[in-house]
């Protein structure tokens, strides 16, 4: 019966065909040892694919990993986290400051202020060694001028909450201004000058210079049009000569300005745009220099020049138009975001882009003409394996060179002789935040008591398998801004109970804490999908309940959690984490002006001393002074406990044993050195020196 035969034969044949394919597949041994090219390749695995290979447009970490190899910025962080020049050889930071000449006032000696009297007065003071002017290199006079501008003024509408806005034309009489060139940035320059001039700066009334048909222009609006004083920090970058893009074109100052223009052009939707918003102008100083002037004091702006530089000759208007026409799209709306460049990038970095198979791998080859000399690794492969278990197996099999161990695996793997292991402290911390708009959390004693009731060390030991460290404040522990002298809250439930008693919360007959007949009760929330936060939540709830606090918990889907609760300030306490940068700016997270809806100080923290510090920190260009203020801020925040700061996670990276660093001595012999993590804990700081040797002979370090 042929049907019967088919029914039996078909599965047999199919199975045999599928299984015999095994015979033609290379084993791991063939791939690792049998292929000499494997020694020249470095393979990294990632759970997610890159999205856009253009540093000005990408915001995800996978794209960032590739972009940092293909592109290079003007500066980056050195081994000790200080700045070092990359495409820029060196730089200078100084300040240009402006002061309005207000002829309605008098000088301290009684003469009326005029263009020449003010300048002469200051010249004399400088000549006599006045300390307020000691940083001044140059003073010059800028003439005034009048312009007509449109501004929006508010008319009180029927609803007070939402006044109507309408445009009004105003004539702005820009008075003459004095321009000071300062050797270095000084945020207190005008404070000192004000003192020298007996309060002249404070008395300047900007509304005098703004003329409107109706008297509806407020003083603030006038001040925005005619600021009495202005700080314009300037960075001069001297660029490295002879640096080539991967296509052989030489890098120059035009590329720097072009990159800035790409970021700022609204149609490109660059997520980096806010980083560069404080920039007033980017001027070219010949082929190998740029002067960047800022609108205001903003120290974190400096670090942003680590942004990878794009090649202007491949992405300028003309090129984009040609590409749009070739692709049959509208040349006028075609932006850098639409360009195929983002899938085949060309930069000046140590690695050259070769190939990208979406959700499979990205291949880079070393760039032979890299200005610092080509990397030792010839090929870099970024393989996308979404599942952690298969990524782990791939690493064990030797077909990838690095693996980020999960906390529970660390104990088993950190001393495994097959690999080299590097433990690294992260940049993010997990915290419990208290909504200080709620009356119960307004008392610092309550917040402190809640923190003391939680045994954070237990959380670290049992929830995180020891893969975390305690933190006491908002800065990453590796930075100078973190004050190591701040002690973490001790685990002391009895002291916690005593503090709560001081705050008026006492135990009732049933053992629950209450004040004026009201029980101490609140809800602790966190987002779905983070098992660690969920575990912390249970630990906290349990610890607080033992004190006699009625704590409810709720785990919510991320979008609901953020949009309905966090952004609207509609919560009691929450568990979240911040991932920090390396700058000292905490303005968005802790400044009292940032407590509105959809702002990031959602716990409603307010402290006027902290506010001042946060503003001064972002304006301070001197590292030591900034560190001193940041540490002070750290102490204040630790004292106020708007959050219970819990822990910073640690990560263990495993590397193939064969990977070492190879550097060339002056006499031309190769020296092998071990891979060492930098101050931040990054192991790939010397990535360009990495090499794979079957039997490395390490030189003593």
């Amino acid at each position: 019966m042929w049907i019967k035969r088919i029914l039996l034969l078909a599965p047999t044949i199919v199975s045999l065909f599928l299984l015999q394919s095994y015979l033609w597949v290379p084993t791991f041994e063939d791939q690792v040892k049998g292929d000499p090219r494997r020694l020249t390749r470095y393979i990294e695995t990632s759970i997610g694919d890159a999205s856009i290979l253009n540093p000005t447009l990408a915001a995800d970490s996978a794209s960032g990993a590739i972009n940092s190899l293909v592109f290079e910025g003007l500066i980056d962080r050195d081994f000790d986290l200080s700045f070092r020049g990359r495409l820029a050889e060196s730089w200078d930071v100084f300040e240009e400051a402006y002061l309005v000449v207000d002829d309605a006032q008098e000088l301290p000696d009684g003469t009326p202020v005029a263009v020449d009297t003010l300048l002469r007065f200051l010249e004399r003071a400088r000549a006599s060694g006045e300390p307020a002017l000691q940083l001044v290199q140059k003073m010059e006079l800028l003439p005034g001028r009048s312009t007509v501008e449109q501004i929006e003024v508010a008319t009180p509408g029927p609803e007070l909450a939402k006044p109507k806005k309408r445009p009004v034309e105003v004539t702005v009489h820009q008075p003459p201004r004095l321009k000071f060139t300062l050797r270095e940035v000084d945020q207190d320059f005008f404070v000192k000058l004000n003192r020298l001039l007996n309060g002249y700066v404070d008395r300047i009334d900007p509304s005098r210079f703004v003329e409107a048909a109706e008297p509806t222009v407020t003083r603030q609006q006038a001040a925005a049009l005619i600021p009495a004083v202005e700080h314009n920090p300037v960075i001069i970058f001297r660029l490295r000569k002879g640096v080539l893009f991967h296509d052989g074109h030489e890098f120059d100052s035009g590329d720097v300005r072009f990159t800035y223009d790409v970021i700022m052009a609204p149609q490109n939707l660059s997520p980096r745009a806010p980083d560069f918003e404080p920039v007033k102008s980017v001027e070219l100083l010949g082929r190998y220099g740029v002067a960047i002037t800022y609108k205001r004091l903003f120290q974190p702006g400096f670090e942003r020049w680590g942004m990878g530089i794009l090649p202007e000759h491949l992405l300028n208007r003309k090129q984009l138009k040609a590409e749009a026409v070739g692709a049959g799209r509208d040349p006028d709306s075609f932006s850098v975001r639409d360009s195929s460049f983002n899938r085949a990038p060309i930069g000046t970095g140590p690695f050259r882009f070769v190939e990208w198979k979406t959700d499979q791998f990205i291949r880079l080859n070393r760039f032979k003409n890299y200005w610092e000399g080509p990397p030792n690794i010839q090929q870099y492969l970024f393989r996308i394996i979404p599942d952690l278990l298969t990524a782990e197996l791939t690493f064990y099999a030797g077909t990838s060179d690095a693996y980020g161990a999960q906390p529970h695996q660390v104990e088993r793997l950190q001393d495994d002789p097959r690999f080299q292991a590097f433990s690294r402290l992260g940049l993010g911390y997990t915290y419990i935040g208290y909504n200080m708009r709620r009356p119960i959390f307004q008392d610092v004693k309550v917040r402190k008591a809640l923190g003391m009731a939680i045994n954070v060390q237990d959380i670290i030991d049992y929830v995180l398998y020891g893969q975390a460290e305690r933190t006491t404040g908002p800065y990453p522990k590796q930075t100078d801004f973190y004050d190591p002298a701040v002690k973490p809250l001790p685990y002391d439930p009895e002291e916690a109970l005593r503090l709560l008693g001081e705050a008026g919360w006492t135990r009732n007959a049933e053992g629950w804490l209450e004040k004026d007949g009201k029980p101490l009760a609140f809800t602790l929330i966190t987002n779905l999908g983070n098992e660690i936060r969920k575990a912390v939540m249970v630990v906290a709830q349990n610890a607080w309940r033992r004190l006699g606090i009625k704590v409810e918990t709720l785990v919510m889907e991320w979008a609901v959690f953020i949009n309905e609760r966090v952004d609207k300030g509609d919560f009691d306490a929450l568990i979240l984490g911040w991932s920090m940068g390396l700058d000292a700016d905490l303005y968005q997270i802790f400044h009292s002006s940032q407590t509105g809806h959809f702002q990031l100080n959602f716990v409603g923290y307010k402290n006027s001393e902290a506010d001042d510090l946060m503003i001064r920190i972002r304006k301070e260009y001197n590292h030591e002074r900034q560190v001193a203020m940041a540490r002070r801020l750290h102490r204040i925040i630790a004292e106020d406990q708007p959050y219970t700061f819990l822990f910073v996670g640690k990560g263990l990276t495993l590397l193939d044993r064969k990977l070492v660093r190879m550097v060339w001595d002056r006499d031309g012999t190769a020296r092998y050195l071990p891979i060492v993590p930098d101050k931040l804990g990054r192991i790939n700081f010397h990535f360009n020196q990495w090499v794979k040797t079957p039997h490395p002979v390490l030189t003593a370090h």
Partner: protein
């Protein structure tokens, strides 16, 4: 006949319209925004977030968004939020990656389910039947990802070969034959895993269909005629038992775009299931809604085809004449 088909087609178009509205509304009414719009990023100002919303049309009322979306969809201008690539080429690329998995998986299901189902039906209550029943139910109940991990660890530890991805990673410059075999090998585990549940379920259907037919009158008649057991079973019984499965063939069509999320995820397979899954996580509306829409179209085509196939296969069923 033709007018009946037109009538059905018209009805399906209406269904498609409603599906398009519902699938568009569901994803937009679900909480959350595209991952590009990250309100918790301290470096993002409200202006930047607004700029994104405007560029993604999210600042407009839903009906306008709907119209703009489908206009872009049909003119091919629709782009993914994630990488700004056109949606249709992206889906097509992923489709061809998932296609071999689908084909091999389907072949495995149909090759194994029928012999298994028929054999257990014929030997009803025998040891073979009982063992297959237990195994089949075990396969239905075991979660796919668990089985996948067991299989991967087993194969990797005992046979020392690569099993994830489309092909052995980093293997270049080998002949076409080796490449084909390499790719075939990489299909084995994921398609076997994808097929297990299918084999288990389909074989149960086959068994019960077969049992029903075996006990019917005409089979008894055939036996009474003195036909051999094989002729009775495979010629008379099987043919009639197969009838419902003809329709299932057509219903496979929507599976073309489904892809298996878990299998593709574990095996690092750059297929359509993973595309959809990652798009949902990052709220990449253009990809999610497009996949939904295409799936709806394929489902409707599938049901249409199955109606026609059934008509062809079973002469008792005829479309009633239009009034």
């Amino acid at each position: 006949m033709l007018s009946a088909l037109l009538r059905i087609g018209w009805k399906k178009l209406w269904t498609l319209f409603f599906v398009s509205v519902v699938s568009f509304a569901v994803i937009h009414l679900a909480p959350g925004e595209p991952s590009q719009i990250d309100p918790l990023n301290p470096r993002f100002t409200p202006e930047v977030l607004q700029r994104y919303r405007k560029a993604f049309d999210l600042d407009k009322p839903l009906p306008i968004q709907y119209i703009r979306f489908y206009r872009k969809f049909f003119t091919g201008e629709l782009r993914s939020f994630k990488d700004n690539q056109p949606v249709l080429p992206k889906i097509i690329e992923r489709f061809w990656n998932s296609f071999p998995l689908f084909v091999v998986g389907t072949i495995l299901v149909w090759c194994y389910a029928f012999p298994l189902g028929i054999a257990s039906a014929i030997r009803r209550n025998s040891l073979f039947d009982k063992v297959t029943t237990v195994v089949v139910f075990a396969l239905i109940s075991v979660p796919g990802f668990y089985l996948a991990y067991l299989l991967i660890i087993f194969v990797v530890q005992n046979f020392h070969v690569d099993v994830i991805g489309l092909r052995t990673f980093g293997r270049e410059g080998v002949g076409t034959f080796w490449t084909i075999m390499d790719r075939t090998w990489h299909l084995v585990l994921p398609s076997v895993l994808g097929a297990t549940a299918g084999i288990a379920i389909l074989s149960r259907y086959v068994r019960s269909q077969m049992l029903e037919v075996i006990n019917s009158d005409y089979v008894r008649t055939a036996r009474a005629k003195g036909l051999s057991e094989d002729a009775v079973l495979y010629k008379h019984a099987l043919r009639n038992a197969l009838l419902p499965f003809v329709t299932m063939l057509a219903l496979l069509i929507p599976g073309l775009i489904g892809g298996s999320v878990i299998i593709e995820y574990i095996f690092a397979w750059p297929g359509i299931g993973r595309l959809g899954y990652e798009a949902i996580l990052s709220r990449d509306y253009p990809i999610v809604v497009s996949l939904n829409f295409i799936a709806a179209v394929l489902t409707l085509i599938g049901t249409l085809l199955s109606d026609i196939l059934y008509m062809v296969a079973d002469p008792r069923i005829r479309l009633e004449k239009a009034e």
